[in-house]
Subunit: 353 residues, 2 copies
DNA sequence: CTGAAAGCGCTTACAG
DNA sequence: CTGAAAGCGCTTACAG
């Protein structure tokens, strides 16, 4: 076994002194070939007026010299960076990391790269990142607004000069393309599913009130109740702010006001699963005594017992569509519009409801 | 309720025609203030020889004109991009997304941004991204090698000119700073924990053979056995390639060869949990009949029943340390060394073993 | 089909 | 303490 000194450094092997070899430029290629930099540039960009022979020679030499275009220089000249900025509240989160996966796919298919920033739900960090990305670093921005953000004026102002697509956490104060999950309809389906199991009260564990996501899911819940002639009872609603630590208390609150509750719809799977854990601790049977439906179809949904019935909202798809729209915005600026695309949700029927 | 037409577009609100307002430049500030661009640049960069008065005026005007530095231009001139490239096999994965979170934190504290690419475990995509990042886009690279990668020559060649730190998926063929979890010791601890529960055979569900991560965890397992005078039995080893679909078969294979097995150590939590699910289907009690230990302390570990005993390896910390090393490499190139930092692991004792 | 020249927005040695 | 000038590596109208 290795020693405990392993805990830190080991193996300080022979020093390597880095010296950054100056990368080859267009000028180097031109010189080695005895032609002009202009021609090299054109050949590299497959300009139609350059002889195939010349192109071939240039490409070969470029390979030989390990040439790769200097993006800063090219970007400075053309005002294109082939980078997209992404601003999310948190990277390490099932939903957002899946969205990022979808974005990366579409971006990469179109030879774009992603500059990803994490706001930690802080308004000032958000503003800082947006500012920095917009300053010549990216051709456009994909953004999901932080929870804390109150003042959209500055943001809207900065973004008015830049193609931007909002996803998931959107705001009407920033008029552009919005891509969202079908939050309203998903919540409606979830609640209807709970109602369909038989008569009884249905509670809702809601998310942060400020977020449109929470609001839309709450609306879906309320409308499903209404459609079934069940009047909305505020005592059946508790907000957990996406904070799983608040769940046991929220469940207690609901149970105290309405011990006879028979279904809970939670704003996301993490909250739903925490609720299941809390209910099980009280020896409440799921779904016999209380049924639970989540939102998101996180990997944990198929691990918890009973397996969580939930709404899948296809985060990778959200990322793909948002990126698709942004690239269209960048490439045909004149067609830019204020609009919303809603990605369909689906009820995944498992054992918790 | 909204109509099903919502599934796609809706709300094609008033068209907005974007026209990118040319952002203010240093020249604009200079003109409005009647001073030279040189002075503006110096003032903005807080050059010591500029009068405080001038600095103040310049900063005020910069704010008024919504000036922000053009990174492409500044980068072209100074050969600094203040961006770090990150190349990972997959973004939407608990381990990597947590590592990214840690990287983002340290990068942002040092005014660096992250350009993140996902290789999908493909050697050619990996090469393509590295190539592109290195071409003047980033000051350094953080990288976790894809499973498929066989040929390190080209990679090593490209990277020899660029500061690079490898994390988690490393290779000695790329001699630089490596940051890894304490895979060997974690596996050792996990296996020792299983052995300590009493006499009996301990199996291992291993990862992709090519990965050093898998190799180190396998070594830890073997050494723990050896230290307890248990000889290694290949019939107790099955490889699942990080593919949860292969787990039931692997469990069957082990159980067929050794029905009396009493502990399983899995290469990661996903595999461990899939094994628990498979065992439960066979009405095998956990941990009474067979105990299970995972690796990684994923969120699912505290949800599965029984709660998974596992090894925590602190992915965010791995990301933080890797970034820290890269920034040091970038800022004091001469101190660059070939070395390895190992982030300590810890046994998280829950109910599955 | 190719070249010479200008210029993208910045930084920085050089000069004063 | 400030300015004029050169130049980073590229692209592209202009000229031939």
């Amino acid at each position: 076994m290795e020693t405990s000194a392993d805990n830190f450094f080991f193996g300080l092997l022979p020093f390597t002194v880095y010296f950054r070899i100056m990368p080859a430029t267009i000028k180097d290629i031109a010189q080695s070939l005895g032609i002009s930099p202009s021609t090299v540039s054109r050949a590299l960009n497959d300009h139609p007026q350059i002889k195939d022979e010349t192109k071939k020679a240039v490409r070969e030499m470029a390979r030989k010299l390990h040439y790769s275009v200097n993006q800063a220089a090219s970007g400075l000249r053309t005002n294109k960076t082939f980078s997209l900025g992404v601003v999310v509240p948190q990277i390490s989160n099932y939903f957002f990391s899946s969205v990022l996966g979808g974005m990366q796919k579409v971006a990469s298919e179109n030879d774009y790269q992603l500059l990803i920033c994490q706001t930690n739900e802080k308004e000032d960090e958000e503003l800082r990142y947006v500012q920095s990305l917009v300053s010549g670093r990216v051709d456009g921005l994909l953004m999901s607004i932080s929870q804390e953000t109150q003042n959209f004026d500055r943001l809207a102002e900065i973004l008015s000069d830049t193609p931007v697509v909002l996803f998931d956490r959107t705001s009407e104060k920033i008029p552009t393309i919005h891509v969202e999950a079908e939050d309203y309809r998903g919540a409606y389906l979830a609640t209807r599913h709970l109602i369909s199991r038989g008569p009884g009260k249905i509670a809702h564990l809601g998310g942060p009130r400020k977020l449109t996501v929470s609001q839309n899911r709450l609306r879906g819940y309320k409308d499903a109740l209404e459609e079934n002639n069940i009047s909305f009872d505020p005592g059946l609603l508790a907000h957990c702010e996406f904070d799983i630590k608040k769940v046991p208390e929220a469940v207690d609150k609901i149970l105290a006001a309405h011990p006879e509750v028979k279904g809970i719809f939670a704003v996301n799977d993490e909250i739903a699963i925490e609720a299941i854990l809390a209910l099980k601790k009280k020896n409440i049977r799921i779904p016999e005594d209380i049924a639970v439906v989540g939102f998101g179809d996180y990997p944990i949904a198929r691990i918890v017992e009973p397996n969580l019935t939930t709404i899948s909202h296809y985060p990778a798809k959200i990322g793909e569509r948002a990126t698709h729209h942004l690239l269209k915005l960048i490439n045909h600026r004149e067609e830019a519009a204020v609009m919303k695309e809603v990605i369909p949700c689906e009820l995944i029927n498992r054992d918790s409801a």
